[in-house]
């Protein structure tokens, strides 16, 4: 089955940013550097540590990233955000606190009119996150 993921571009700080996201979200992180890739010999030595491709995976959560910037350079926008769907309010609040560290807590977690808990933030790398949780904390669990 085809799947969609968000793919982030950085300018040499991909490793640092992805390690930050791993600290926030958990999961397994893997990197491929230019030095390890078939491109190694064509690239200047300072770029050897740059990340060709990074993957953070935690169950169904997948985030991809790279230091490979197109000819146009990096243009920061705000028209695509990362929506993190959480399974509990506690989880959402914990992620919110961690991801907003050093960034901007643009809209702290609060109950939306549609009944969910919702918040948004811009992290310290300039990426925008939406956190959403539809779990109703006070609904009693059904008996097994």
């Amino acid at each position: 089955m085809s799947v969609i993921h968000s793919y982030l571009t950085f300018n040499g700080n991909c490793r640092e940013a992805m390690e930050f996201y791993q600290d926030c979200l958990g999961g397994e992180l893997s990197f491929q550097t230019i030095g390890e890739s078939p491109m190694a010999e064509e690239m200047p030595p300072p770029l050897k540590e740059s990340i060709v491709h990074a993957t953070l995976t935690r169950g169904p959560l997948v985030l991809l990233a790279s230091d490979m910037v197109s000819d146009k350079g990096l243009i920061k926008g705000n028209a695509v955000s990362l929506l993190l769907q959480c399974h509990s309010e506690e989880e959402a609040k914990e992620y919110y606190t961690k991801l907003s560290a050093g960034g901007q807590a643009t809209h702290p977690m609060e109950k939306g009119f549609w009944g969910a808990v919702f918040g948004d933030l811009t992290d310290k790398y300039g990426n925008q996150w939406l956190l959403h949780c539809t779990h109703q904390k006070n609904i009693p669990h059904e008996k097994d």
Binding site: S2, L8, P60, V80
Partner: protein, 136 residues
């Protein structure tokens, strides 16, 4: 366990864009307008009532969500791409051709050293996509 999805912002053309994505990717599209939420519509100018509050397109493992409502005016950047990992050669060709209509192909579909067929494009709405099909 938490899930991560791209959420895409538009300025009034969300319905048109999402219908285009549905044509390209298939799946089921759900659109909710401002006008369908009377409490919200009451706080907004009448011309906003047809704007999309929230929409989602679900096609198998692909979910794209989008809205016309933004706290700040959308600025198209290029640091967040929508990345589709395709299931077959036919599918990557089909998605790539469809989404590039009226847009710009930045890297044509090519066999890459990692054993994938890969390409990238900017669609007619300014959104950036990358595609990969890992060949057996």
């Amino acid at each position: 366990m938490a899930k991560l999805n791209p959420y895409v912002s538009f300025s009034g053309n969300c319905r048109e864009a999402m219908q285009f994505y549905k044509q390209c990717l298939g799946g089921e599209l759900v659109l909710q307008t401002v006008g369908e939420m009377p409490a919200m519509a009451a706080k907004m100018p009448p011309e906003m009532k047809d704007h999309i509050l929230h929409s989602s397109l679900t096609s198998g493992g692909i979910t794209i969500m989008a809205s016309d409502l933004n706290r700040n005016k959308p600025v198209e950047g290029n640091t967040v791409h929508l990345c589709i990992n395709c299931d077959s050669d036919e599918e990557i060709n089909h998605f790539f051709t469809g989404l590039s209509a009226g847009g710009t192909i930045t890297e044509a579909l090519t066999k890459m050293p990692w054993g994938g067929k890969y390409g990238s494009l900017t669609d007619q709405y300014g959104k950036h996509w990358v595609f990969n099909f890992q060949m057996g």
